[in-house]
């Protein structure tokens, strides 16, 4: 009988799922993901999780709930570091503990630590631990690890070519999707934020889709090589502590340098701790560095944020940018 392991479609799903998909598949373990977010999933999560948590964390609890009776174990790795430069938000660090303390009736949780801060081995120590835990030999684990890396590289390449995460994953599954092409003359907007907030169509209220319908070219931080983003993020007097935050800040600086960007939209979760800082830094630096040439908008989202309100704000922003172009 194959082992079924649950992988919630939230948080690191959008940045690291292909690796784990490749790894587990090669081992012969079946990965079960939760369905795309719905109102019910979000409501369930919000009811169970601690009230002050941000929407992505509440949502994660909801996704765990949809999986708990369908799988033999849940994979909730403790994301500490995936490179030497930064750790994850403390809520990622405590994620398995929060889930365990909050939800009842869960299958066993595999909460191995991902801490690639020291060695050059990346995710291998975690993979080795997993193999030991699940009873696979190291001889089986190594090719699986390589397979995972292969998937992840293919995924990231697609992202850099302009595919959005969900499209890239569909593409990896063999579906015939194409990356949106850049339209000459259209507005160029950078939509920046944490992948689990920006690419979950439900909790992002499909901001990217909406903007595309308004005929804007969308740039994201995934389209840029992370190495470059980290380099740029070290322009701050003190580098931020958190992985995704550095990527967002780095992307801000990159797009400011690029010169053909009309506006930057920061998508952030209501009450997000790191973003309280990131957002202010972005606001000050976008204004300061571009000297007012690039417009900035920050959209903060919680469970109550309405679709209509977001549409109105986006429309107003886009209209304003069109006018600016004409006046130039």
């Amino acid at each position: 009988m194959t082992l079924h392991i649950g992988f919630p479609t939230a948080l690191i799903y959008y940045s690291h799922f292909p690796f784990w998909q490749g790894y587990f598949n090669r081992l012969g373990v079946e990965i079960v993901t939760s369905p795309p977010t719905t109102r019910t999933i979000l409501d369930d999560g919000a009811r169970e999780a601690v009230a002050d948590a941000c929407i992505p964390i509440k949502l994660y609890h909801g996704h765990v709930l949809t999986l708990k009776d369908k799988v033999d174990a849940l994979f909730i790795p403790r994301m500490v570091r995936i490179n030497r430069r930064a750790t994850f938000c403390p809520k990622f660090l405590g994620l398995p503990d929060m889930v365990r303390a909050t939800l009842t009736g869960l299958p066993p949780i595999i909460d191995l630590q991902v801490d690639a801060g020291r060695g050059l081995l990346g995710l291998w120590p975690t993979c080795r631990g997993l193999a030991e835990l699940l009873g696979f030999s190291l001889g089986t684990a190594w090719p699986a690890y390589r397979e995972g890396n292969k998937h992840q590289r293919a995924y990231e390449e697609l992202l850099r070519k302009g595919y959005l995460p969900l499209q890239a994953m569909a593409r990896l599954r063999g579906e015939a999707v194409e990356a949106p092409s850049r339209q000459p003359g259209a507005l160029n907007l950078a939509v920046l934020g944490y992948p689990y907030q920006v690419y979950d169509d439900y909790i992002s209220l499909d901001i990217i889709g909406k903007l595309q319908k308004m005929r804007a070219n969308i740039m994201t931080m995934e389209m840029l090589p992370p190495r470059r983003l980290f380099q740029l993020s070290s322009r701050l007097p003190k580098r931020l502590f958190w992985h995704f935050s550095n990527l967002v800040i780095g992307a801000t600086y990159h797009y400011l340098q690029q010169g053909d960007i009309d506006g930057i939209i920061h998508v952030t979760a209501f009450g997000c701790g790191p973003d309280a800082m990131v957002d202010k830094l972005m606001e000050l630096d976008v204004r300061g560095i571009s000297q007012g040439k690039v417009a900035y908008m920050s959209l903060s989202i919680d469970e109550q944020t309405g679709d209509a309100g977001v549409t109105t704000r986006l429309e107003a922003f886009v209209d304003m940018l069109h006018q600016r172009r004409e006046n130039r």
Partner: protein
């Protein structure tokens, strides 16, 4: 003479005032935080910054307007945001047009050289020799330790006082005495005098006060204005409080006979990872309080404080397993005193009831059939 200032955190300002003055600077003592300070901070701070960030920003605005030229503060290593606050405070204040120097001291172990060179600039600026500087630090440290000891003594006295409010009044007299004491000898005799004053408060030794441990984020725990004077409020409701953090930490290690390391170890089964700030400590300390026979624990946490949110989501489980009631208070600029007092009263009623039930139990076992 350069004018130097620093953040206001509980009563530690007396120690820092001495430090700065002994170094030969003019100290701009930050005014006690008030609603006005907070308002100003809120105005310029990001909406979801935690309340300590806003309060400290408000304080900086006030001291800069009073002419402070140098601000000295502490940094951090993360992943708690506080480690980056110096940088963002500076950016916001410069953007408002203030001109000043800020020295953010990260823990020396994260960069010994950087720590040293910053320190050297400060010490050189003061025109002090290193041995003289060491002396200055020793005096300030002695004062900080004394302040912590007095605060603890006051918390232990308050629930027994016959006249409500007397302990707090005496404690404030003590602060004045401590402020006057400048060298080690004077600080030692201030200790004698203040301890005597607090011990002389008329009290009713027959009371059996409840014992509540306070855990949470350091700034809201140490700054009475921030926690709506939780220790005074609880004390006057007849509760002995013990705070898990004192600035000089000595009580935490002496009274509970455990260092931070053990506290973290206690937390392992529930939170097996350092999450920054005092998140892991809050979990471990709750267990420690349960083991030491405390009646309950209050967690004070700023709204949006990440490590404390992690702790808060775990504490209900700890509370169940160790049978110790835990009350989590989340504090932001809207938190009102009345609301907090009502919640504390309800919590205390619950604790009293529990205690009575527990005290009744042994008799029930002794006299079966009644």
């Amino acid at each position: 003479m350069k004018k130097v200032s620093f953040a206001h955190m509980g009563y530690s300002y007396l120690g820092f005032k001495q430090l700065v003055e002994d170094m030969g600077f003019a100290a701009i003592v930050p005014p006690s935080p008030s609603p006005a300070t907070l308002d100003r901070g809120v105005q310029y701070a990001p909406e979801f910054a935690c309340i300590p960030f806003k309060m400290v920003l408000g304080t900086y605005l006030e001291v800069l307007e009073q002419g402070a030229e140098i601000i000295i503060t502490s940094g951090g290593v993360g992943p708690c945001r506080a480690g980056l606050y110096g940088m963002l405070h500076e950016k916001i204040l410069r953007n408002l047009g203030f001109d000043f120097e800020i020295f953010v001291f990260d823990p020396p172990l994260t960069g010994l050289w950087r720590f040293y060179s910053k320190l050297r600039r400060v010490v050189r600026g003061a025109g002090l020799s290193w041995p003289a500087f060491v002396d200055v630090v020793r005096r300030a440290w002695a004062k900080l330790k004394l302040l912590d000891a007095l605060e603890q003594l006051a918390s232990n006295t308050r629930p027994y006082e016959l006249k409500r409010g007397e302990t707090t009044r005496t404690f404030h007299d003590c602060l004045k005495i401590v402020d006057q004491a400048r060298n080690l000898k004077e600080i030692a005799s201030a200790r004698q005098e203040c301890q005597q004053l607090l011990q002389n408060i008329p009290r009713d030794p027959g009371r059996h006060p409840l014992k509540i441990g306070i855990v949470g984020e350091i700034y809201v725990m140490l700054e009475p204005f921030m926690n709506l004077e939780i220790e005074k409020t609880l004390g006057e409701m007849g509760v002995v409080t013990h705070r898990s953090i004192y600035l000089t930490q000595y009580t935490a290690t002496d009274v509970l006979a455990h260092g931070t390391m053990d506290v973290r170890q206690l937390a392992y089964p529930y939170l097996n990872q350092f999450v920054g700030g005092h998140g892991q400590n809050s979990v471990g300390e709750t267990i420690l309080y349960a083991r030491n026979g405390f009646d309950g624990v209050v967690q004070v946490a700023p709204f949006t404080c990440i490590p404390e949110i992690v702790a808060k989501s775990i504490l209900p489980r700890v509370s169940q397993d160790f049978r110790i009631p835990v009350l989590s208070l989340t504090i932001d600029e809207q938190t009102g005193r009345a609301g907090v007092e009502t919640r504390l009263e309800a919590f205390i009623d619950l604790l009293r009831e529990r205690r009575e039930q527990m005290e009744a139990r042994p008799y029930a076992a002794l006299l079966p059939g009644y």
